[in-house]
Point group: C2
Chain length 380, copies 2
């Protein structure tokens, strides 16, 4: 009997995912996949683990129908309670033990072992065994893992919708709370609280960029006071049951100048053109191109300094990346952002960002707020 | 003329640190150090950079008196403004370029190159060049970098004191805000806000663990309602100008039971014995041993499930680690936590944590709050 076959509670979801990755491991001739990132731990086990300085890893073997979870002693109880796989082997180690020895023990029991690791694994968990073991061969399996995760199943789509529902409400409340005299930081703090109060589990970012700060896409909120006439970019991320939403609106405090109106409209058109391109079997880069061409033909091409979008799920940024050079085809169930922007250094910037789920004929938009420089009277 | 020798503003601090690491690189025969972690970026350049999916690295060459900073285009402006080194070379790349090509270009210009990387560097930034280049040899330089960072200079000690000052106030306010009926999460949110309001730049954690949750040292705040008789562990981290403070107090909501009093006193004594051990040239493990022996001799040894402390600075956890097996000697200027605890599963836990700076004769304690189960009437 398959050691993982007991179908209790929600565990078949995770069991199915493990089975799918085993099939891919067969094709790629990978013996053990060493899951180390939080999103992949969540995806395969439901257990949210963050490796700070201590190794936490889920080892999925191809042959043995065995999944082993290695955790520091401190995490043992949480691992036991939260890992939703059945019949997994839990191995814990104390602060005076070296988890590399546990890995060495497992890997050295085989003649030749191809270990699939994630790109983000810290070098310290790979480097020691490279010299200690002769029979080991590392390869990167991110592509393999993402090939499962890139298309969301129904359970995931439902959670993503709920995450976006929360984020729509947060973003609207943020826009309603803009007033002359409030600082970016103050507004950010209010947004964070509000998001947690209405059900977000985490608020990975709540960017409030006003005036010239809005021209710096990654700028964290500062003590700058918002003034009449300022462009304000609000880019908010929330996490709900492991999944992210990432939405942006750009508004103006008071009356916009004709230049603000012009730039806003170019970005709005670019975003609409990108949205209109989306459906199953379209190339990802064609969505980028649709936005980019609109902005380029308006003469602002050099001020659109990032890609048009990124996938979103258990990570804020994940495949598919909506950028030039990505000739991969969109598939139903893929979820990503569409967020063109124009950034005029020293002046202001505009970005508009939705999250969409690809369908056969087009997309479902998870963003529910209108797109204009004044939406503070809107009600969800 | 040394390309880095212009002494403008606060830049000599960073220049000195680069010079020191070059001296160590000479000894260890390392040609290039590839700085990738945020704390080390801050330490050597004053520029706080977080590599999400894009590489950000500071390359310190041994021979060329050259420091190169490689950043994604999106970060170019922030890098320019925030890097406090003078005459550094800024190299940026767009989303359609691969930063590995830039590294390949730099490394392949040498005959043989020993590249020092950090343990935490993602495998994806190391793996590709292992196969592309024959002349490259990686080694881990964390020990080298920490050997500089482990002893804080005066500038750092001052910032650490300020971080602790903020944290003392936050922790006291948190304790004053405990009342029957409040949930752990609600209290956590209040603490986070309060910390940001009084000057913390970040609040990496604000653990509120009540009742049986206090027996789980890593448990995040839940919706559990705090009740009369509950043990409440408050473990708060704040960041200020890059540096961390990490303080814990354990209190009781209402009247403690005799068991709560007993356990509290054992931990209190263990912590005092550990503190009394600290001074220059004592072994780190002797501080751990002092706490551990106290708890063991009370019969609770198996419930003290972690080390006694950890260094604190640009990271929340960094060397020196105060644990069995660390025979390294304490030196003046080292800063670390002392935080023994006892955790009774299903019942409650107690932890008391200070942050101290080692001196020749003893230590300076950065924690200013008394240690008892009731300190809500205390004023700082």
């Amino acid at each position: 009997m398959d050691a993982l076959s007991s179908k209790v509670g929600g565990s078949t979801l995770y069991l199915d995912r493990v089975r799918k990755i085993r099939r891919l491991m067969d094709e790629e001739n990978i013996d053990i996949v060493m899951v180390t990132s939080e999103p992949n731990m969540l995806y395969f086990s439901g257990y949210s683990a963050i490796s700070l300085e201590r190794l936490i890893t889920l080892l999925i073997s191809r042959d043995e129908d065995k999944v082993s979870l290695i955790v520091p002693r401190l995490e043992e109880k949480r691992a036991e309670e939260n890992c939703k796989l059945r019949d997994f082997e839990l191995i814990s180690y104390s602060d005076s033990e070296n988890p590399i020895d546990i890995l060495e023990n497992i890997f050295s029991s085989k003649k030749q072992v191809r270990v699939g690791v994630e790109e983000t694994i810290q070098f310290k968990y790979v480097y020691p065994l490279m010299s200690r073991l002769e029979n080991i061969n590392y390869s990167l399996v991110d592509g393999l893992l993402y090939s499962l995760r890139i298309v969301k199943d129904n359970e995931e789509a439902e959670i993503l919708k709920k995450a976006a529902e929360i984020n729509n409400r947060v973003l609207l409340e943020a826009i309603k709370s803009i007033r002359e005299g409030i600082t970016e930081k103050k507004l950010m703090m209010y947004i964070r609280n509000y998001a947690l109060e209405i059900g977000a589990d985490e608020v990975p970012f709540a960017l409030v960029q006003s005036g010239a700060n809005s021209a710096l896409p990654h700028q964290e909120p500062t003590d700058r006071v918002i003034l009449k006439g300022d462009t304000v970019v609000l880019d908010i991320g929330v996490r709900y049951q492991g999944y992210y939403s990432d939405l942006t609106r750009t508004v103006v405090c008071g009356s916009p100048s004709s230049k603000q109106i012009d730039i806003f409209n170019i970005v709005l058109n670019a975003q609409q053109n990108a949205l209109n391109t989306v459906k199953e079997d379209v190339k990802a880069e064609d969505v980028d191109l649709a936005a980019r061409r609109t902005i380029e033909s308006s003469g602002y091409g050099e001020y659109f300094i990032h890609r048009t979008g990124h996938g979103i799920g258990l990570e804020v940024h994940e495949p598919p990346f909506i950028k030039t050079g990505n000739t991969g085809l969109l598939k139903s169930g893929m979820v990503f952002t569409i967020e063109p922007g124009i950034y005029l250094p020293g002046e202001f910037g505009v970005r508009i960002e939705d999250n969409i789920i690809v369908t056969r004929e087009g997309y479902v938009n998870l963003a529910k707020l209108p797109k204009s420089m004044h939406i503070e009277d809107y009600e969800l």
